[in-house]
């Protein structure tokens, strides 16, 4: 399913500079399906969460359609994310360098990258986000099924339904906050959005932000 790092196509930008393919077309599609679902879920979820946000329900055809659509989109997001998590799992295992990276988080947010340990395909922040998202998605699925009145709530006692509603709201809060950080990181670290939109990064980007990954890529792909 996942394309191996060692066999990648050499691509070039308009000035014929070498580019590295960071995400294949399938990975990008998978990511963006998940992302579109997330945006729809966050907007419809907030519409149902707070009266001040209720106007967002107009985007979904009114309050009732918001309620009807939200759980179905949620199932699509879960399945899409599950596939994404399987694709990226092996790149997100935390190691000792990640602990050091996290200790130096002050250097990270102040753009001082020189003293940081060399980063592989993902840095410790990305790895942490990865696992936070996995936990969030599992909890959202479980609690979401319990509060899905139309099909499932009848099977659960009221105490469990109330508990699930609180869990669903709390976990959704963590997820939305995490994704705000994720989106901001993409805006902050220039070149990241291109990696997920076009699939490619420059050699300089790869070396600056993911040096260990950069080396393994160039070593395994002698340019002719």
């Amino acid at each position: 399913m996942h394309k191996d790092d060692t066999e990648y196509n050499v691509k070039y930008d308009r000035e014929h500079r070498e580019l590295i393919e960071r995400y294949t077309a399938n990975e990008r599609t998978n990511h963006w399906i998940t992302a579109i679902c997330f945006v729809l879920l966050a907007l419809s979820g907030l519409a149902m969460f707070h009266p001040a946000m209720f106007w967002l329900s107009a985007l979904f055809g009114g309050g009732q359609w918001t309620r009807i659509l939200h759980p179905f989109i949620g199932v699509v997001m879960f399945l899409s994310f599950a596939l994404l998590a399987l694709r990226f799992w092996r790149h997100n295992v935390l190691d000792r360098d990640d602990v050091r990276w996290l200790r130096q988080i002050g250097d990270v947010v102040n753009n001082r990258e020189d003293d940081l340990p060399e980063v592989g395909r993902y840095n410790a922040g990305q790895k942490l986000l990865f696992f936070v998202l996995i936990v969030c998605l599992l909890l959202l699925l479980a609690s979401g099924i319990v509060i899905w009145r139309r099909y499932f709530s009848g099977y659960f006692p009221i105490g469990v339904i109330r508990f699930s509603a609180v869990v669903h709201a709390a976990v959704a809060f963590v997820l939305i906050a995490s994704i705000i950080v994720h989106i901001y990181a993409g805006i902050w670290v220039k070149g990241s959005i291109g990696a997920m939109v076009r699939g490619t990064v420059t050699l300089g980007w790869a070396r600056k932000h993911h040096r260990r990954w950069f080396r393994s890529i160039v070593r395994s792909s002698p340019r002719d």
Partner: protein, 266 residues
């Protein structure tokens, strides 16, 4: 919206102050059910069916007097009967109307929508009492302002106490801020005798948390997270790759690849 001339008690899906100055002079309305006067005739069930045009499925007898066994989208009033052996060994037949004031709405399996008693709002709006009140032959069900109903209840409670029901009292649980269906009970110290009327109902802390502080706090925290990003960008700025980085990367790539090739040739 001009709401000033309407008697608004509470508005759903809003967090702002609703108009509250126009309190009804005679107070809010409430239903008072004096179970000590009820004879279990079920006239209230019939009146409810007639006025609201309800016809439930004809069920089967299950050996108890409750019929139907539970509220449904087609049954908005159900008499509930409980047998109780008092400490003197005498059997008492304790009757209660509906699930009221708790556990009342029923979701229909047909259309997944909720149906329930409206307190005959169409009748009340034109100055009439609910159908069950109108029909009750013993006057066990009463309807009026909450204050009047409490007064009625007090008279009756004095009566009951004189007749030996020393724990007679009004069921108007304060744990949920009082209810608008109240009962006169002979055993007000044990409401659960009456087919499980909750002894001390209260709003679940989970619901309080979810519907209360969680909402404004969560929204504020999300807005702050986004704002933090904005100020990070304006204070520290983006993390960019410059020409020097690109050149260094190209040089390193060249070195690495040459080394690989030498390694392969060797």
């Amino acid at each position: 919206m001009a709401l000033q001339s309407l008697d608004i008690k509470r508005m759903s899906a809003t967090t702002v102050q609703p108009p509250v100055v126009r309190e009804p002079v005679t107070g809010t309305v409430a239903k008072l059910i004096d179970v000590s006067k009820c004879i279990g005739c079920k006239a209230c069930q019939t009146a409810c069916m007639e006025w609201n045009d309800l016809r439930d499925e004809i069920g089967i007898t299950t050996g108890v007097y409750d019929n139907p066994r539970d509220l449904s989208e087609h049954s908005w009033t159900v008499m509930r009967f409980a047998e109780y052996e008092n400490p003197n060994g005498n059997l008492e037949w304790l009757i209660r109307k509906d699930g009221c004031p708790f556990n009342v709405p029923r979701i229909s399996k047909k259309d997944n929508r909720v149906y329930k008693c409206t307190l005959c709002s169409d009748r009340v709006a034109v100055g009439q009492e609910p159908a069950c009140v109108k029909t009750c032959p013993t006057g066990a069900i009463m309807f009026g302002t909450k204050e009047d109903m409490k007064e009625q209840a007090q008279d009756r409670i004095v009566d009951l106490k004189e007749r030996g029901f020393e724990h007679a009292g009004l069921y108007d649980p304060q744990g949920v801020g009082g209810t608008h269906v109240m009962y006169v009970l002979h055993h007000a110290d044990q409401p659960s005798l009456y087919h499980g009327l909750p002894d001390n109902p209260r709003i679940s802390p989970l619901v309080r948390l979810w519907k209360g502080v969680a909402k404004p706090l969560a929204l504020a925290a999300l807005a702050l997270t986004a704002l933090t990003g904005f100020f990070h960008y304006t204070r520290i700025g983006p993390n960019e790759v410059d020409e020097v980085d690109e050149q260094a990367a190209e040089d390193e790539a060249k070195r690495e690849r040459e080394r690989e090739r030498e390694h392969d040739d060797a």
